[in-house]
């Protein structure tokens, strides 16, 4: 049923994947498993026939959340901008895009210049225009926010970057060759950002990427109606086109050792993100129809079959990936989609606008309950939950279960979205200091081991950093600057 739905959904062909395919073909195909590889779980989720179904055209899963602004809207918005001095929006952007400047350039019709202001500060400007929590960042800081009519900065950014994307305009050129070589482990936003700036500095860059395609969660982990696949690949291609050597399907610690990296390169930037969603640790997790949210979103985004979702989908967790899994399920045709969370509404980690969006999509929400077991013969058909409550006290105390409050919900698909695991073994194998699997870095993104930097989700630590694309981009930039200073070869 699901695959039929996918078939009739609007599709977008013509993906910018030619150069990457050629590269991939030249790289040895690998197998094996580690915490970062989630494929083996699919065996438990789909039968092999269904798992093999693949759609050559990538579905959008319905209308994009944000439609591009019309030319009239762009002019109205761009001209409404006050062109603040030392603007609060710029201060609020982790990459410090000079927002007033890029909007002013849109207003004067200088779209190329506008896009350059954006992408110079943020190599991930195309994806950030679509996935940034702008309400929390630039638009939240806009001086018009007081009247609740902030400038639509994200949409204007998208307009300017789409101009260079749609017209094939190259804005950057690599710097004068320095003779130094830098390895980047992981071709997601942090790695690409670092790679871009390192190329501008003139260093030779090789990205080692475990997956088939670059741009990490932008490519695989964000629902297509928020960030389209082709946009994510275009963004990566801009970096590759600066002369970056890309080794896809190649994992460090498996296909290439850390020692070999350190021997072959003058510096290494770790930007390998996090692993899959951890298990719930309850009976029944290996039944068919039980998903890791990232696997689920990835297959849906790539147009691969996710099998039949049935009438009721349960998503466990309340973060932004949970929202993506929920809305994706709904758009794939599930009758009822319910979020279950062991805390209350006020403690959800999803952004408010994500929560609002999920409500608009018809998602149901159940708070203060935790799954205790998944029930079924070979396929999940129900989940038992227990009621929870938050003990009184300061801080964020762990919820406790209420004895005897168990209840069973009829459920056909279970998706767990309770965060991501850490690639602890990879880092510890490399002799890099971690804290509970989080790579420890200084303000220049230097790890405990000389010659190795880290950026992106692998250094994401609750309460200290944000797991946002825009943060990853900034960290990549900082790492690139620090590497460049370390190499000391740039004229």
């Amino acid at each position: 049923m699901t695959s039929e739905i996918i078939d009739v959904l609007p599709t977008r062909a013509k993906l910018l994947r030619g150069p990457l395919d050629r590269l991939a073909a030249s790289v040895r195909l690998v197998s094996g498993n580690d915490a970062g590889r989630r494929e083996p779980e699919l065996v438990a989720t789909l039968d092999p026939v269904e798992a093999a179904l693949e759609h050559p055209e990538v579905p959008q899963l319905g209308e994009p959340i944000h439609k591009p602004l019309t030319d009239l809207e762009v002019q109205l918005e761009a001209n409404r901008c006050l062109y603040c001095y030392d603007a609060p929006c710029m201060r609020a952007c982790p990459t410090h895009i000079d927002v007033a400047s890029f909007i002013g350039k849109i207003a004067t019709g200088n779209l190329r210049g506008s896009a350059r202001v954006i992408l110079e500060a943020n190599p991930m400007g195309a994806s950030c225009a679509r996935v940034c929590p702008t309400e929390e960042l630039c638009e939240g800081a806009c001086v018009y926010k007081k009247d609740d009519t902030p400038i639509r900065i994200g949409d204007l950014q998208r307009y300017a970057v789409d101009h260079v994307r749609n017209n094939g305009i190259d804005l950057f050129e690599p710097g004068k060759p320095s003779g130094k070589r830098v390895a980047i482990v992981g071709g997601g936003p942090a790695g690409l950002s670092a790679a871009r700036d390192l190329r501008l500095f003139g260093h030779a860059v090789t990205i080692f990427e475990a997956r088939d395609e670059l741009n990490g969660l932008n490519t695989y982990g964000i629902v297509p109606f928020r960030l389209a696949y082709d946009v994510a690949l275009w963004e990566a291609q801009q970096v590759v086109d600066l002369g970056v050597d890309v080794k896809t399907k190649t994992r460090i610690g498996v296909d290439v050792s850390f020692d070999a990296l350190l021997k072959d390169f003058d510096a290494v930037v770790l930007a390998c993100g996090m692993g899959g969603v951890p298990k719930l640790g309850i009976p029944g997790e290996n039944l068919l129809g039980v998903w890791d949210a990232l696997d689920f979103i990835e297959r849906a985004k790539l147009g691969k079959s996710v099998g039949s979702l049935g009438d009721h989908v349960a998503v466990i967790g309340a973060g932004n990936t949970a929202i993506d899994a929920l809305t994706c399920s709904k758009r794939l045709g599930a009758e009822r989609v319910t979020m279950y969370y062991r805390r209350g509404e006020d403690q959800m980690t999803a952004y408010q606008f994500e929560y609002d969006f999920a409500k608009q999509e018809g998602i149901e929400f159940r708070f203060f309950c935790a799954p205790t077991k998944i029930i079924g013969e070979t396929h999940a058909n129900a989940v038992e939950f227990v009621r929870t409550e938050i003990p009184k006290g300061g801080g964020k105390p762990a919820p406790v279960t209420v004895p005897g409050s168990e209840f069973v919900e009829k459920v056909d698909t279970v998706i767990r979205a309770i965060g991501q695991s850490r690639l602890r073994d990879v880092f510890e194998g490399a002799g890099i200091e971690t804290d509970a699997g989080v790579v420890q870095v200084d303000e220049q993104m230097r790890t405990s081991r000389q010659g190795i930097w880290a950026a992106g989700d692998c250094i994401f630590e609750k309460g200290m950093r944000e797991a946002m694309v825009v943060e990853a981009a900034e960290q990549g930039k900082i790492a690139a600057r620090s590497v460049d200073a370390f190499l000391g070869a740039r004229k």
């Binding site: 109205l76 001209n79 603040c84 001095y85 030392d86 603007a87 609060p88 207003a107």
Partner: protein, 424 residues
Amino acid sequence: MADLSNNLAGIKSPNPFWLASAPPTNSGYQVMRAFEAGWGGVVWKTLGDPIVNVTSRFAGLNWKQNKIIGFNNIELITDRPLDENLKEIRECKKAFPDRAIIGSLMEVPERAKWHELVKAVQDAGVDGFELNFGCPHGMSERGMGSAVGQQPDLIEMVTSYAVEAAELPVIVKLTPNITDIRHCARAAARGGAAAVSMINTINSLIGVDLETWNPIPHVDGKSSHGGYCGPAVKPIALNMVNECARDPEVAIPISGIGGISNWQDAVEFFLLGATNVQVCTAVMHHGFRIVEDMIDGLNNYLNARGLASMSQLIGASQNRITTWENLNLNYQIVAEIDQSTCIHCSKCYIACEDAAHQCIDRNVVDGTAILVVDADHCVGCNLCMMVCPVEDCITMVEVDTGLPAESWKQRTAVSAVGASTGSA
């Protein structure tokens, strides 16, 4: 309802809002529609020997999202036969006898031709004449329009030609394309004009198309200078109206023209000395219907201020304009920023820092810029208040200097006395 009725040199109309001689008054059909909408009077599209027009003819100056803050045209006078125009004038006057219809006239500077034209139009039942000595394009190349209006002796002479034949008030419409409009207005008065109207359009080139490098508007790739009007010219018009209103040698009523788009603009013209106003660009932009709010807004304004008649506005601020040497040097204001309404955009800061007197202190506290005026050094120039996007956030507050009012004229007169005393 306040009394909005108007009397310009004996020409009566139910309200002070007239349509200027221009495309909106080109035909009887349009004038009928204008009167139905409520306009108090019209100055008919200039009558004279029919001409041939070109395409295109108009261009707008836009600023950001605001369309037509300025308007440029290279259209000439009426391109329809005189008889046709006169027939329609008769019909309009019959249908709306209480409204003013003014015949705008243009002719070469020959007495006989003027007499002939004045008599023909007079017979059609107009309430007065307006002599078009203002159009700066096309007709001026043929010795008419601003070619007359730029020479006071010609103004006086041609005005007298018209006045000789006219049994009705003659208004002279002046061009702003001169160095001192008072000389032109005085000449019109000497020639017997009952009133002057100003300003006609200003010589202008609206711009160049960045793709084709053609001028805008262009006629087959070429253009000539046009006449500029619309909201952007209002300050120029206000100044010229006031200069003439204060001039004892002019001493005839003024019909104000230039960028009037609403009742507020009109009130400013009245306060500075205009008896009534004429409108064109705003109607070309929005249609005749705008007069409804002009009437309603003026009436409410008068009522709110307890004024019985719009005539009480005429010239009320006229003599508050003087020469710079008479301004009080000891009057001091300083900017004050209301922290409760400030949105922290720092526009005031950068304007003062880069373009004024570096008198706004800016401290970023928790990511928010706190802006405070250094009152000891503020010169009270108004710039910060002007750039502030929030209404009334920055106000200019009077500071008591403890000094008596003293103008430059007084101060230098005292110095001169002191100097001569010293040398004695």
